[in-house]
Symmetry: C2
Subunit: 436 residues, 2 copies
């Protein structure tokens, strides 16, 4: 039998971590070997490598390629227990977290529940424009994209066909750029010989970005390079444009003072995220401020004001580093997870000053289809094939478990050689019941 | 653009194939290069290698590993069009098939729509005991099996824990034997160190078979060998036993005159199949007989009596070979697909005698966990490691597309070395909404 039959009875410092994403998982792993009791709570049983979800949405990878069971990752870390369940309450004064019917006591708490899609008040858009935050959303987008080509094949030329062959990606950040590029690859190369009565390369792919350039956080040079590559791939780049309405069969986009109606059956949302609802719950419980995206505004040590034992990190926190906001990227969460875990150990050891979180920006990158990417590391700005290799390298290195790393590398290598996307499956409840 | 802009206008012999399983896909591929117009209709966009679904259900493989997009498989076969849709009617006199709102004219028809689970009149059991016929069922079983362990970890010892740790597989044919063995592997090896308060190897796995031995179609020697290996793996083998009732929290099994109540949260159905509903539809339209499993009883040339242009093949047909029934296995469907395609070409060429279908039994095999299997090829009966290697070889050879073959081999090799099952994901609508 196992060593910790009754972890609750222990008198060791109890740490509860909510969320097994980049931040929470890194925090748990940082606590490996420490004389503490860790409980990692997540409502899913796996860690998900979200930056690659767009590859699931376009049939290049399977969900299991970019997910690792949390128990599997933490199986040899005996001070850490994994609990599957949704957190329904946080009792700040009583120092416990409610997971379904179970009270989970803590001495220190790390909240790292991540972000969800932000439709900026237009909740109705969600059904017509799923985002790229979960496995289910990615396979749903995959279902919609592939079904659109099937419907186009069935439709007479003209008529509904052009609507089915029009894809709109809202949001020109890295996710939107990568998604638009991947749809173009799919249509122009992978499915090139798949149909008999339509030419999939006639698909129209429109990338809508509110800013005056794609990849707004990048340098202008990278943005224009990305736009250039996208255009060469046949993607229409609509900058300074804004989605005004999204319906099942069309979207309305404002561009240059005019509202354009675009007939489309497939819209992907990549325009923004907001904190998990736990952000609001925590703010209500502690009286601490949240920003417009619902993220608790944390202290320099990543704790909630007045609660030096409650840390909020990653996408769901408004974190700052040397007075500047920390971007909502994997690196921000990973580094914050490490910092929070170490700060807890310091405080448990009697230290009061744990210092301030300092984000080391290792750079940003976005891939645009095959062989091309933009990457920025400090003053260094790369683009094209070299940037693409860098992107490949970094993503493989950070994939959480070795098995996935090997399989993904192998699958990518295969896809690269053959331009194949063998995970082009239309699955799911809707596929099974509302059959086309 | 593509060569066959208007396939319906062609005066070539029109062949419609319903179903892209082993039978239908083989028929389509056999027609490659022939001067005919082929339309393959399926309600799914992929061919599924059903014999390996139990590996998806236990997290060893991803759905995409055992599925190949039909368009991808047939992309270079220019005389074949793929149509995604459900067949809602067959007009025998008018020689057309109705797919949604589209009339599909045919000169010859091959119906190969496969089989569904047969609950023998107990339709209510389906919700509590999914079978292994579709990707959705396999991922649903995976969800249930993995969730049961999670619930057991959360439950106090005794109480509900034992119920969550009890798995019942109904049906002791190859699918049931493979499934029971795989659950045992999962519990006793893969998840060995995954939990802190429970020992997953205490899981109870019960295989229920009505016959007096498992693998009834095999030789007695193979059956007893399989039973021996299963018992060594900790599986309880209940032969001469029959499921009398299946509920959400228990099953009732009659064994030796006594009805036993088994508390369980996870039941897998592997006890039988029946023809797709198209079998009945076709029988009604042609006045031809069907057997108890709803399968049209076809002539020696696989056609419906009085309709020499309508072939029914594979799992949905009651086929005979030299007066003996053909078993519902992949080989039966593959060989029938080849025969039907060739018979159509012969008749289109003016021949009236196409001969009788003759099934060449290449043997049967079933794997029982790691390193062990039983295989029968004619008089040759293998078991143990050699049989397991044979099983491996045959399954890799018959996997439909090269990309999958390489990936599956690689994944298996990895799983074998590490006893890992990295596709242990709890996903799906229910996982996302009815969170545990």
């Amino acid at each position: 039998m196992h060593s910790e039959e009754t972890p609750h009875m222990s008198s060791r410092h109890k740490i509860v971590i909510i969320g097994g994403g980049f931040g929470g998982l890194t925090a748990a792993q940082t606590l490996r070997g420490a004389d503490v009791d860790v409980t990692l709570v997540d409502r899913r049983n796996f860690h998900l490598f979200q930056p690659l979800l767009y590859q699931v949405a376009t049939g290049a990878l399977s969900p299991a390629n970019i997910a690792a069971p949390l128990r599997s990752v933490l199986k040899h870390q005996s001070n850490c227990r994994v609990l599957l369940g949704e957190v329904t309450g946080i009792d700040v004064a009583g120092k416990s977290v409610l997971v379904r019917d179970e009270q989970l006591p803590f001495d220190s708490l790390i909240v790292a529940a991540g972000a969800v899609n932000n439709y900026f008040g237009n909740a109705k858009w969600e059904q017509h424009a799923p985002g790229l935050k979960s496995v289910e959303e990615a396979t749903e987008i995959r279902r919609r994209v592939l079904t659109a080509f099937e419907e186009a094949e069935r439709s007479a030329a003209g008529g509904h066909r052009q609507r089915y062959l029009t894809f709109v990606v809202v949001g020109g950040g890295p996710t939107g750029v990568e998604m638009a590029g991947a749809i173009s690859e799919l249509a122009r190369h992978t499915m090139r010989h798949d149909f008999r009565s339509l030419d999939p390369s006639t698909a129209r792919i429109i990338l809508v970005e509110g800013n005056n350039r794609v990849l707004p956080p990048f340098a202008e040079k990278s943005s224009s390079r990305a736009e250039e590559v996208l255009k060469r791939m046949g993607v229409e780049v609509w900058t300074s444009s804004k989605a005004k309405d999204i319906q099942a069969d069309h979207v309305q986009v404002e561009r240059g003072g005019t509202v354009h109606r675009i007939e489309t059956a497939t819209v992907v949302w990549a325009a923004g995220v907001k904190a998990s609802t736990l952000g609001k719950m925590l703010a209500d419980a502690t009286g601490s401020p949240i920003d417009r995206a619902g993220r608790p505004i944390v202290q320099p040590d990543l704790t909630i004001p007045g609660h030096p034992n409650i840390y909020v990190i990653g996408d769901m926190a408004a974190m700052t580093s040397n007075g500047k906001p920390v971007p909502g990227v994997a690196q921000g969460a990973i580094q914050a997870g490490k910092f929070a875990a170490k700060a807890i150990l310091k405080r448990a050891g009697g230290r009061t000053d744990v210092g301030s979180f300092s984000f080391w920006d290792k750079g940003s990158m976005a891939t645009i289809g095959r062989n091309s990417a933009v990457a920025e590391v400090g003053w260094l700005k790369l683009s094209g094939f070299v940037a693409w290799l860098a992107w490949l390298f970094v993503h493989i290195v950070y994939l959480i478990n070795f098995s996935n790393r090997v399989m993904v590398l192998f699958q990518w290598f295969w896809n690269y050689l053959t331009r194949n996307r063998s995970a082009r499956l239309i699955t799911g409840e809707r596929a099974a019941h509302e059959r086309p």
